[in-house]
Symmetry: C2
Subunit: 492 residues, 2 copies
């Protein structure tokens, strides 16, 4: 290593777009991911943990030029040889693994993966350049039973996290039905590739532009508020209605929705295949007891239609929350996925069917928090205060007893001179109880237990008279430390 030069003091800052997670922010996410992993395991999925670093080649990004190797990923060159990069999702590493170990892995291969991914993008409010993903994919299963299973699993995951039935819905659609619709609408064939692209992008904007905006884009085009004109697909009105009909084909039951879709794709083989797949998924789910209160066939799911090759699905939370502007809105999508068949092909030339879901960890965690459903928020530790520095061994003994009883506890290890600082510390740690023993109490074989939770309540509401009685602090025999602490914890 080169000799360290004298430098000005470094700034104590995270790089732009990165952040730190403290205490409950870590443990709540962990508890959520643990619950999800439990359900994934129950469904036979196996854990996979790949490293954060992949070759740029394996990630499927290519080098446009040496100076700017990878818009979108964090990349660097090793010894003037390989370019390495941080993974930007968990699917690209899965593709590499599925190709690299194709002779050893069970087929089908069900794997789940959880961990951070990195995006070299402009950070914005709430948008970070490192965030968690949580995926489950089945590689090598051609049957749509694999898609149905992942939808069932997604439903189970949400309920395992405490989201009540009725507060979420899993929606399924199928890219093949869209392909059939495009065929019927006269947009098959190479010569219509550009028009199909416009249609796909228009469909993807349904949420934002509404049906009329999409209709305009399917036809001649659309002028937005700024006056900019986006050229449309140039479809005749009655053909455009077939596409619109696709997005609006949701009916009260899956069977009726499939019947309506069958009408729309009449005459298209790929379309008929897509409808049959949706019907099969609906049947499989019904057999397992997943009714339309949990999972529905819904052709208005358009997210990701362009990317996937078969069934697509997403999970939406349907309860109301307040957005930043104080408006009541539905929480919205927390997971999405679908079937894609080119996973391994890039590496091996061989087409391998795959289907999988990615859960938006941060959004889902925010949803759980807004419902008060976060798990395992750790209580602060019981603080054994230090009244007499020379008696540290006594305090350590107390804390050892508490820990042996499974109670989270610690001795105050800062400078003990100012007792107020010790209580301020306890407050900052959200400590439920402070244990106090000066030499006078030690001589009498007693300790003081201060109920900090009750104390905080009293500080807000109690009269001077009540406060003087000091009901939040009790004196108990030293020998009863553990049992009296337990009693006090139970009353709060």
């Amino acid at each position: 290593m080169a000799k360290v030069k004298k430098q000005p003091r470094p700034k104590a800052e995270t790089p732009k777009g990165f952040r730190d997670y403290f205490g409950a922010e870590v443990t709540e996410r962990k508890a959520m991911l643990d619950k999800i992993a439990e359900v994934y395991e129950l469904y036979g999925f196996d854990a996979l943990e790949t490293s954060a670093v992949e070759t740029v080649e394996a990630l499927g990004k290519f080098l446009p030029d040496v100076d700017r190797p990878n818009e979108g990923v964090f990349a660097w060159q090793e010894d003037e040889k390989d370019w390495l990069a941080l993974r930007y999702d968990l699917t690209a590493p899965l593709a590499r693994v599925a190709a690299q170990y194709r002779n050893d892995l069970p087929a089908p291969y069900r794997r789940y993966a959880m961990g951070p991914v990195w995006r070299n993008e402009k950070p914005g409010p709430g948008r970070f350049r490192q965030f968690y993903q949580c995926d489950a994919d089945t590689v090598g299963a051609p049957s749509v039973a694999a898609d149905a299973e992942i939808c069932a699993m997604l439903s189970d995951v949400l309920e395992a996290l405490g989201i009540a039935r009725g507060d979420y819905i899993v929606r399924i659609n199928n890219r093949k039905v869209l392909n059939g619709v495009l065929e019927v609408a006269g947009l098959s064939g190479d010569e219509n590739e550009a028009a199909r692209g416009i249609v796909l992008r228009a469909i993807d904007k349904l949420d934002r532009l509404g049906p009329d905006g999409v209709r305009a884009l399917l036809g001649e085009g659309r002028k937005d508020e700024s006056g900019d004109f986006t050229k449309g697909a140039g479809m005749a009105a009655e053909k455009a209605e077939i596409v619109m009909g696709f997005m609006e084909a949701l009916r009260p039951t899956g069977a009726e929705t499939c019947a309506r879709l069958a009408e729309l794709v009449e005459g298209s083989q790929i379309g008929a295949e897509g409808v049959a797949e949706l019907q099969q998924i609906a049947d499989l789910l019904a057999a397992q007891g997943y009714g339309p209160d949990r999972i529905v066939i819904d052709p208005s799911v358009v997210r990701g239609l362009g990317y996937y090759t078969g069934p697509v699905y997403e999970a939406e939370l349907t309860f109301d929350v307040q957005n930043e502007k104080g408006q009541t809105v539905q929480f919205g999508s927390v997971a999405g996925g679908g079937r894609y068949d080119d996973l391994v092909k890039r590496f091996t030339g061989q087409q391998v069917p795959a289907t999988g879901v990615s859960i938006g960890v941060d959004r889902l965690l925010a949803a759980l928090r807004s419902k008060g459903q976060t798990i395992a928020a750790q209580q602060g530790p019981i603080i054994v205060t230090v009244m007499d520095k020379a008696r540290m061994a006594d305090y350590q003994t107390m804390v050892a007893e508490l820990r042996q009883a499974g109670l989270r506890a610690e001795v105050y290890l800062g400078n003990p001179k100012n007792f107020g600082n010790q209580l301020k510390y306890a407050d900052k740690r959200k400590s439920p109880i402070a244990v106090i023993q000066g030499s006078e109490e030690a001589d009498r074989g007693v300790i003081q237990l201060k109920d900090l939770i009750l104390g905080a309540k009293l500080a807000e509401t109690a009269s001077a008279e009540e406060w003087k009685d000091n009901p939040q602090q009790i004196e108990v025999p030293r020998t009863d430390l553990v049992s009296e602490v337990r009693k006090m914890l139970a009353r709060t």
Copy 2:
């Protein structure tokens, strides 16, 4: 993003020095880290998760030149501005956090952190460029009670992981005692800085060179087997014996060891201080019931003496294992740490006392595996085989029943044509039971349960006669699926 160019097929490989972790490799490590976190939490430590990426500046590495910014770390330059890098340990990010949030964090700040770190080093056998660390540190606690506490916690961690008392030992030493020894040996003062450096490096080599090798390095120097000569510290023999005496000062009890150390540092104030600290640590631990069967004052702990400023400690596993050459050896060190006072100073100029431990995750996991103490190795899923593709809904119903009963289960989702492949798949998944139902069985309302664990045993030991009886496969009513599967799992 730049237009993607046609490229030859990428290689499906991890970058050199990186690896993938599958199934139990992931879940066993996770279970171990969960247990450790539980103990850390019990001691009042709070989780902290920083991002993988830090500015090179904050990491405390400097730029010798632009082409080779960081020997030892993975680094890259952002937009011709900041250099960013992957963290190489969990201490440097803690230092940044302790400085950045110094006005908001509780003081003392007890934090634990677990996660991967990255080293841009030549990979070797068993040496990877990404690996886990698992640290606990107390920042802002000047008292050695903080060091004693971490040693007690380390002992609790090992026992929580199933390592029996007697199979491990936590050893404590103190850098201040060494400083006292050096002073008494006439090596204080600026003019002896070089000699002190040689002594420190010699002490660090005790394990490898033995006492005589170290003695030679303390004196004139040492010629190694290849004939290379390493210059020594040039100490007179009787002065060198003071240093040797330090390393050999271990006595049957902590009190006797401290008494011996007090003799060695007689006349040195810093040395006396160090001995008093060790005595205080021993007293605090004794008060909490941590006797020398768990934690000992041991001056032969030299690892890290150069780096730390006060107490140093390490945990060693003392049971025998076979090494790669088939020799019986002690497992050795699995954790180490100590007190260091310049943590935050680089950022703020302010000295902040800190002490902490880092557990060698991979080594500890290997130790648990060698003792058969790994936790929660997940059993393979029960496989519901597909005899009749048209009856997929029935099979999915079976698997849903099993999952609802909390049993890990899945339907075979590959091509069902070849039944042998389904059983091979079950074997690869380490499945305990295969569920089989053809249309004939369906008509009779029964299923076959194949005990794959018993089957594997029989395949090894059974005679042709026994095999023919086929005791590993039973027929049960379809309605008894869950209870019969439970019975079969219980018998294996």
